[in-house]
Symmetry: C2
Subunit: 376 residues, 2 copies
C-alpha cells in the first residue's frame, strides 16, 4: 500500500503542477489583456479618443432585419456568389469582378462583362460593402440585397438583357435539387421560392459576413500595441489633414456620397480622365448631383487598385495627392503623404477564412437551360 | 490519509477506465480495418482481382523527376493557377476554364477565351490530369508542365498572341516581390528565374497534387464495403462490356489515345456534331491519325459535362450509349446503361481541401504592365 500511495502522491503532485501551470498561463493571458488595455500612453489615449469620435471598429457581420442571416443562407449565398450559371454565357460569376483572391476586386480599370464589354465603372470591393450608406458608385441601390440583383440583370455585366434572361438564370438554379433544398433551409417556409429576389438575398447574406477587421480595429478598442508608432502618426495625419471628413465610420468610408472635385475641380483635370461621368446626376437628372459618387471604403485599399469610380489612377500615392487637392483644397506635403500611406497600408484586414474556401457546386441536370454560345 | 487515499483510488480507477476505453476504441478501429480487409466475399475478391488487372488505385500525387514537387512550388503554382494576371486582359486565369468549384471544368461546350472567343474544344478537367499519357485532347503535350504553357501563349485562350505578350505576362509576375521570393523558395538556386517555363512548372506542380481518390480506390485496395452492391454490379458490367479496353489504369482513362468511331463511325453521325475535328491528325498531318483523341478520365464524370472533345453531348447516359455504339459496336441494353451509370456516379472523388482554398494574391506595383483594355 505504501508503494501505491507513493505513486498516488507523485501523480497528485504532477496533476497539481499541471493545473498550476494551466492557471498561470490563463492568468498571464488575462494580465496581458489587461496590460494592453491599461497601458495606453496618454498620447495613445488621446489618439484613440480622437479616432473613436469619427470612426468605430467594424463588426464581424452586418445584420439585417429584412434579410436575417442564418448558416444555410450564408452557405447558399457563397455557392451562388461563385456560380457562373447566373450569367448568360456561364462564364461570369460575382467572383469574376469581385474576386476574393484579390480582396474583392478585379484590379481592372473597369469591369469586363458579357460579350467582352468593359463596363463604365470600376468594380468596387465586395469586402465591407454591406453596411455602407448605399451601393454602386452612384448610390442607386440602398443595400447589398438590392445591389446583388443588379449585375445579374445588367446586359453588359452578366448578360441578363430582359426578363426572359433573368428567368433563364433563375431556372438554371431552380433545376438543381441541391440548390432547391438549400433555399428551403435558408428561407421561411412561405417565402422560400427560387426567385431572383431570394438569389440576391442569399448572395447579400454572404456579403454581410465579408467584413475584414484590421489592426486599426484593435487599436480603436484600446490595444495601443496594435498599430506601430509610424501607423499611429499616419492615423493622426489622416485625421488632422481632414481625410476623415469623408472617410470615417466603421468602414473608413462608405458612409456618404460626395462630390468628386468638392473644393477644386473638375475632377478629370486631376485624374486625367477622358470620359466624364456625372455620377449620381446620371440617375436623378439633377444638376446638383453632378459628379457625386459614393465615398469608397479605404479598408484593404492597397489591394483594391486602380482607384476612383473609373479606375483612372493606379498609384495609391497619386490618389492621395489628388484627394488632397480636389476634396480638401490642400497640397499635402511629401511627408504628409508618406504618413497617410503608412496608415492606409495598415488597413489591410483579415478576409474571413471560410469565404475563401471554394464551394463544390452541384451539377445541373442534362436538360437545364444551356449557356448562351452566341459569339457576339 | 485514508481519506486522501480513497480519493487517489477513485482517481486511479477513473484513469484506468479512461485508458481502457481508449484502447478499446483503438482496437475496435483496428478490428474494423482488419474486418474490411479480410471480409471480402469470394465474389468481391474476384471482382477486385479482375478490376486490379486493368485498373489501379490513384496515387495522392504524381511525382516528376524533372519537376520535383516541394511545398513552396505547389503553393506558388496554386497562386498562379488562380491569378488572372497571366492573361492579356487580366480577366482569365487557369481556374476560369478549369474551375475547381466545378471539378476542374467550366461546364461549357467549348472554352470561352480572350475577346469572347469560344475555343474549338471542350476544357478537359484539371483534376487527375497529371499522370495521363499526354495532355490536350489531341495529346500534343507530353505532360502538365508542357501543357501549362499552352493557354498562356494561345491567342484565343489567355490572349498571348506573340512573344512580346508572354513577356508581358512574365513581367507582371516578376514585378511582384512576393512572387519573386516564392520562385527562390520553389526552384534550385541556379534555375529560379521568373520565366514562362518556371511559371508553367509551378502550375504543373500544383496540378500534380490534384488527384481525387474515390470509393473505387478503397475497393481496389480490398475494402469490400467501399462500393454498394449496385456499384459493384456496375463495375462488373463496365468491365464485361469492354469499357475498360480504353478507360483503364489509375485514372480510368487518360492512358491512351484512340479513334473516336473506332468500330462504327464517323463519330459526328452519333454525336450530331456540325464541325468535324480531325483530332491528332490536325497535329501530325497523318491520315492514320484522323479522329484520334485522348481517352478522357472518367473520374468525376458526373460533374465534367458536357462530354467529348467538343462538348457536344450534355447527357451522360447518351454519352455512354454513343461510346457503346462507336467504340465497342454494341447496342448496350437499358439495364447495362443503368448499371454503368451507377458505377460512373461512384467515381466522384475527394478534391484536395487545400486546392479549394483561394490564395490571397499579392498586389502589383503601380508601374507593372497593365491589363489590355482594348475592346475587340
Amino acid at each position: 500500500m505504501a508503494f501505491v500511495s507513493n505513486h498516488f502522491k507523485a501523480a497528485l503532485v504532477f496533476a497539481v503542477a499541471v493545473l498550476a501551470l494551466f492557471f498561470m498561463i490563463s492568468c498571464s493571458g488575462q494580465k496581458q489583456n489587461d496590460k494592453t488595455r491599461t497601458d495606453l500612453s496618454s498620447a495613445d489615449q488621446d489618439l484613440v479618443s480622437q479616432a473613436m469620435s469619427i470612426m468605430s471598429p467594424i463588426p464581424d457581420q452586418i445584420v439585417s432585419t429584412t434579410n436575417p442571416l442564418n448558416e444555410a443562407k450564408v452557405k447558399l449565398g457563397k455557392m451562388l456568389y461563385y456560380d457562373t450559371r447566373l450569367s448568360r454565357s456561364n462564364t461570369i460569376s460575382c467572383n469574376s469582378c469581385h474576386n476574393l483572391a484579390t480582396y474583392g476586386v478585379d484590379n481592372n480599370r473597369t469591369a469586363m462583362g458579357h460579350g467582352w464589354t468593359r463596363g463604365p465603372r470600376n468594380s468596387p470591393t465586395v469586402l465591407n460593402a454591406a453596411g455602407q450608406v448605399a451601393q454602386f458608385w452612384d448610390g442607386r441601390a440602398k443595400d447589398v440585397e438590392e445591389q446583388a440583383q443588379g449585375p445579374i440583370m445588367n446586359p453588359i455585366e452578366m448578360g441578363g438583357m430582359d426578363k426572359s434572361q433573368h428567368e433563364v438564370a433563375v431556372k438554371r438554379i431552380s433545376d438543381i435539387p441541391e440548390y432547391r433544398e438549400l433555399f428551403v433551409q435558408a428561407f421561411p417556409p412561405d417565402k422560400n421560392e427560387v426567385s431572383l429576389e431570394n438569389i440576391a438575398n442569399a448572395i447579400a447574406a454572404f456579403e454581410r459576413t465579408l467584413m475584414t477587421p484590421s489592426r486599426l480595429d484593435k487599436f480603436l478598442k484600446g490595444d495601443g500595441t496594435a498599430l506601430t508608432a509610424e501607423e499611429k502618426k499616419g492615423l493622426s495625419t489622416f485625421i488632422s489633414t481632414g481625410c476623415t471628413s469623408c472617410h470615417n465610420g466603421s468602414h473608413v468610408g462608405g458612409a456618404m456620397l460626395q462630390k468628386f472635385g468638392l473644393v477644386k475641380g473638375p475632377y478629370w483635370q486631376y485624374t486625367g480622365d477622358k470620359e466624364i461621368d456625372k455620377g449620381k446626376a446620371a440617375v436623378t437628372g439633377n444638376a446638383s448631383d453632378d459628379y457625386i459618387f459614393k465615398v469608397p471604403t479605404l479598408r484593404n485599399i492597397v489591394h483594391t487598385y486602380p482607384y476612383f469610380h473609373d479606375g483612372s489612377v493606379w498609384n495609391l500615392r497619386k490618389a492621395v495627392v489628388i484627394m488632397g487637392e480636389t476634396q480638401l483644397g490642400r497640397d499635402l506635403s511629401e511627408g504628409q503623404v508618406d504618413e497617410i500611406m503608412v496608415f492606409l497600408k495598415s488597413l489591410t484586414g483579415v478576409v474571413p477564412e471560410d469565404a475563401l474556401v471554394l464551394p463544390l457546386l452541384p451539377p445541373s441536370p442534362p436538360d437545364a437551360p444551356k449557356p448562351d454560345d452566341v459569339v457576339l
